[in-house]
Amino acid sequence: MSTALLAVQTLNGLQLGVILFLIAAGLTLVFGVMDFINLAHGVQYMLGAYFAVTAYGLTQSFPLALALAIGASLLVGLILEAAIFRHLYGRDHLDQVLATFGIILFLNEAARMTFGANALSLSMPDALSGSLRLMPGLLYPVYRLVVIGAGIGVGVLLYVLVNHTRVGMLVRAGASNAPMVSALGVDIGRLFMIVFGVGAMLAGFAGALVAPIFAVEPNMGDNLLILAFVVIVIGGIGSVRGAFVASLLVGLVDTLGRSFASDVLRGVLSSSAANQAGPALASTLIYVLMAAVLFFKPAGLFPARA
């Protein structure tokens, strides 16, 4: 494994990590503050991507498409919250799993009916379509660097929002003890709506952001949803900081594992055995990581609830 390859894969890992963070941040807050399992968070990411593609078709402008996609995602999130989720807050986790699973089935299929089963893509803005020479022998697409930058930017913004604003304070308080916050006279319903809207918006933003580099297709959110769950469980439910650290960890472990597991195994196993076991190990690595974290720290790395 050359240094250049390692560097490229590390950047790819970071990219997956920040996208996971955009999805996981909303998920962990919804989970932590409202104790609500939202399986439909992945389809909100998918919708963001489709919104961006559609908006670009209408406006032919990438920034406008991004802005419209974020707005539409927020709107869909608020509608879902008001129509369905609001009625499920006090309910059993199982009810929430079942209802949001139903929403996944519906929205995935609705996307397939509206846009077809084939993958769509969004053309990249010209200004960002080039590659940057990071070191000798290492060219990296500018757009992917922008994705990483945007993800980290949103992370910083969320950090400020959660740790240094009044709403953020309430969100943190809600994550550690929601009934108490409510008892102190805070309109918890409104707080839930804000958290939910921001979560949906972030997931939609992630979808729109990756539309030029990933295939935009129905079910594109399903696998990322599972990864996002792994992230928030490792990071600690309700903790944005935990979600950030765990996203990068999962992104890096998954990407580097897939690239180098066979190479590493070749050190201890025969070549053919390593080629067999490598992919299996790589694709299960993050789940092993999660099981290990849960075993030793059942509440995750940065538990929000003391």
Partner: protein, 327 residues
């Protein structure tokens, strides 16, 4: 046994209303007579569909034992179906096709996987348990994907169905259906016996109130682990049958969406009721078939239906049928 004060769940199989006692009798009678529908034509199709109902009912019963009765929300039960299926597939590919042996290996493999993953998962509670079982399910899925010698992500075709005592009993679809139904009945009676035993009472007691169970001297962990293993083995049986029926096994047997389907079956039927799990499985399999014959986009109908059930019909199908509301 009398000393254990466990609040009796109104939907438990020990409820003594005559109307409730009739439900399983009617259910099994209907399933036993259903192949007669084949007389109206398309017998092959009818039998295949009914067999699928029976197989998923076995898996749903298994999940119900852990989820409905033990309160263990496993989001990875499809893995056991896959393991049972792969046990049959891999042995058949190596020229071993004795049904009893295949079934035994399927049971052992799914039981061992349940024991290992359950031992770790049961250290966690609530949401974490859901997530860790999901993670183990995904691990099994990806391992199956990387089994290149056995088809990888394309799956594995079984050269022939299993034989029993040298007879290729399963070659006949009608015989296959009645074998599946017999296994469903066996699993059902076993699950009923388990729930009525002291073991079952402790399990349900720990679901209702763990602290109280601990106070009267029961550590729920070994009970839960045993229930989880039994539950996984039941799903393993379903996997074995599913692979034998379709003469095919693939990683698609164990996607997380399949695990979600199993939860839907148990919940739709009505939690903590074994009859409900069978009813739910039959309902889901038939509804999918019916709707997908109607439109390829059947999920657009089925999805909102699930949401409505959660919002408005909390006792599941059995609750609607018997006019009871659960919880």
């Amino acid at each position: 046994m009398r000393g254990i004060a466990v609040p009796m769940d109104s939907t438990s199989p020990t409820a003594t209303e005559p109307s409730r006692a009739l439900v399983p009798v009617l259910l099994f009678a209907a399933l036993a007579l259903a192949p007669l529908l084949g007389a109206f034509g398309a017998e092959r199709y009818v039998l295949a569909l009914l067999t699928r109902c029976a197989i998923f009912a076995i898996a749903a019963l298994g999940l119900d034992l852990a989820l409905g009765c033990g309160g263990l929300v496993s989001f990875g039960h499809a893995a056991f179906i896959g393991i049972g299926g792969y046990a049959a597939g891999i042995l058949t590919a190596n020229g071993i096709d004795d049904g009893i042996l295949l079934l035994f290996v399927a049971l052992a493999a799914s039981g061992l996987f349940a024991l290992a993953t359950g031992a770790i998962s049961l250290k966690t509670r609530g949401v974490h348990f859901i997530m860790i079982t999901l993670a183990f399910g995904q691990m099994a899925y990806f391992v199956a994907n990387s089994l290149k010698a056995y088809g990888g992500d394309d799956g594995l075709t079984l050269a022939n169905r299993a034989s029993f005592f040298g007879h290729d009993l399963l070659a006949d679809n009608r015989a296959f259906y009645y074998l599946s139904l017999a296994m469903l009945l066996a699993v059902y009676l076993f699950a009923r016996a388990v729930l009525r035993s002291r073991f079952g009472r402790v399990l349900r007691g720990a679901k209702e109130n763990e602290t109280r169970m601990a106070a009267i001297g029961f550590n729920p962990y070994p009970f839960r682990l045993t229930a989880y293993v039994i539950s996984g083995m039941m799903a393993g049986v379903a996997g074995f049958l599913l692979a034998e029926q379709s003469e095919f096994v693939s990683p698609a047997f164990m996607t997380w969406q399949r695990s979600g389907d199993l939860i839907i079956m148990v919940m739709l039927g009505g939690m903590a009721s074994l009859d409900g799990a069978i009813l739910g499985a039959v309902f889901v399999v038939l509804t999918e078939e019916l709707l997908s014959g109607f439109t390829e986009h059947w999920r657009v109908i089925f999805g909102p239906f699930l949401v409505l059930v959660v919002l408005f019909a909390r006792g599941g199908l059995l609750g609607i049928l018997t006019g009871r509301r659960h919880g």
